[in-house]
Structures are given as structure tokens and as C-alpha cells.
Amino acid sequence: EPEVTQTPSHQVTQMGQEVILRCVPISNHLYFYWYRQILGQKVEFLVSFYNNEISEKSEIFDDQFSVERPDGSNFTLKIRSTKLEDSAMYFCASSEGSYTEAFFGQGTRLTVV
């Protein structure tokens, strides 16, 4: 069964460093998303991406964040100059259409120290 895969499963980084979280969406999907879940808090939408551009983003997704589809298979989330409060589980998801089911990856746990 096709699935969304995320790497790494756990990333530890020092405050102020840049991190890149990687995702391989399901191959025939056209819409890609990033969510995050801070420990003990709700899942939060970060950004959606379609046709090589951001289609929607939340207030959380400020200039510190960027997304890219560098090739035909990967979808990345870059966090510049990480802060302690960026520590969270980051989920990538993809869907065929904007109103069809989104499939989630298993998440990358980011720990900023």
C-alpha cells in the first residue's frame, strides 16, 4: 500500500541552526501539506502546496519557514534559525485532490536544544 514517508524520524538540532525535514508523498498525489504537533497540544496546519507553489499557509508559517519540491518526489520543510519552541512533531501529508483524503506520514520529531 502506498504511503507517505518522512525522514529522519527524529532530529536533534541546536538553537539557531537550520533544519530540513524531508517527505516523500504518495506518487500520484498533487497536494502536499505540513502540520505540526507540539507535545500535549493540538495538531496545527502549517502550509499547503500545489503546482509548485504555496496555496495556503497559517500564521505560524512565517519567514522562518519555507517549503520546496526540489525534484519530482521529495517535499521538504526548511526551518531557518530554529528556536526552542519549534520543538514538535512535524507531519507531512499528501492528497490526490484538495478535497480528497490526506494521507499522513509517521512524522519527524524535532528537538531543538
Binding site: V4, Y31, Y33, Q41, K42, V43, E44, F45, S48, S55, E56, S58, F91, A93, S95, S98, Y99, E101, A102, F103, F104, G105, Q106, G107
Partner: protein, 114 residues
């Protein structure tokens, strides 16, 4: 008032019990309502998807939406130990443009004991 409220539990039931999970919400513009299941160390997995009010059944699972009360429920019949997970409700407006801008509940942790 928070946009979506969900009791985090934990909820512990014996195998075979009927489980009732609930969320309340404040935004009357929400039209799409979803229930996700999340196993430990995994991403959320869509269980049920309901548009507007009414009931939807899928096997042992029934989702109910009462828009007049701003209340949604997920019922699990004949619960199994494999149902042990966190259940998250999520919802969005019809005009969100992209229904991935979901508003999530905190999730309810369910344990079904053999």
C-alpha cells in the same frame, strides 16, 4: 471559548464495550467533520468523514454531527484492543478553499482492555 474542544481522557474500557467520543465546537461555519485515529509514533489516519449534519456508519464506527448543538460524536461498537489509540476530531469550513486547513481537537486517548 476554544474553537474545538475534546476531552483528552484517558478513556479505558473493556473489550466489547461501546465507546463514545465527542467534540464540541464554536464556529458555526464548520461544514466538514472528520475523525482521525493515531497510533503511537504514527501519523493521523482518517477514519470517518462527514459533511454537514447527520450520521454516517462504516462497520463498527458511526459518526454523528449535530450542527444545532455544535457537537460531533464517534461511536465504536464491539471495541477491540486494536482500537486502542488516540482519536482526534478535525473540522473545516466549506469556504476554506482547501480543507486541509483543518482545526483539530486535542485528541482522546482510548485504551481497550482485553
Amino acid at each position: 471559548q476554544k474553537e474545538v474542544e475534546q476531552d483528552p481522557g484517558p478513556l479505558s474500557v473493556p473489550e466489547g464495550a461501546i465507546v463514545s467520543l465527542n467534540c464540541t465546537y464554536s464556529n458555526s461555519a464548520f461544514q466538514y467533520f472528520m475523525w482521525y485515529r493515531q497510533y503511537s509514533r504514527k501519523g493521523p489516519e482518517l477514519l470517518m468523514y462527514t459533511y454537514s449534519s447527520g450520521n454516517k456508519e462504516d462497520g463498527r464506527f458511526t459518526a454523528q454531527v449535530d450542527k444545532s448543538s455544535k457537537y460531533i460524536s464517534l461511536f465504536i461498537r464491539d471495541s477491540q484492543p486494536s482500537d486502542s489509540a488516540t482519536y482526534l476530531c478535525a473540522m473545516t469550513t466549506l469556504t476554506a478553499g482547501n480543507n486541509r486547513k483543518l482545526i483539530w481537537g486535542l485528541g482522546t486517548s482510548l485504551a481497550v482492555n482485553p
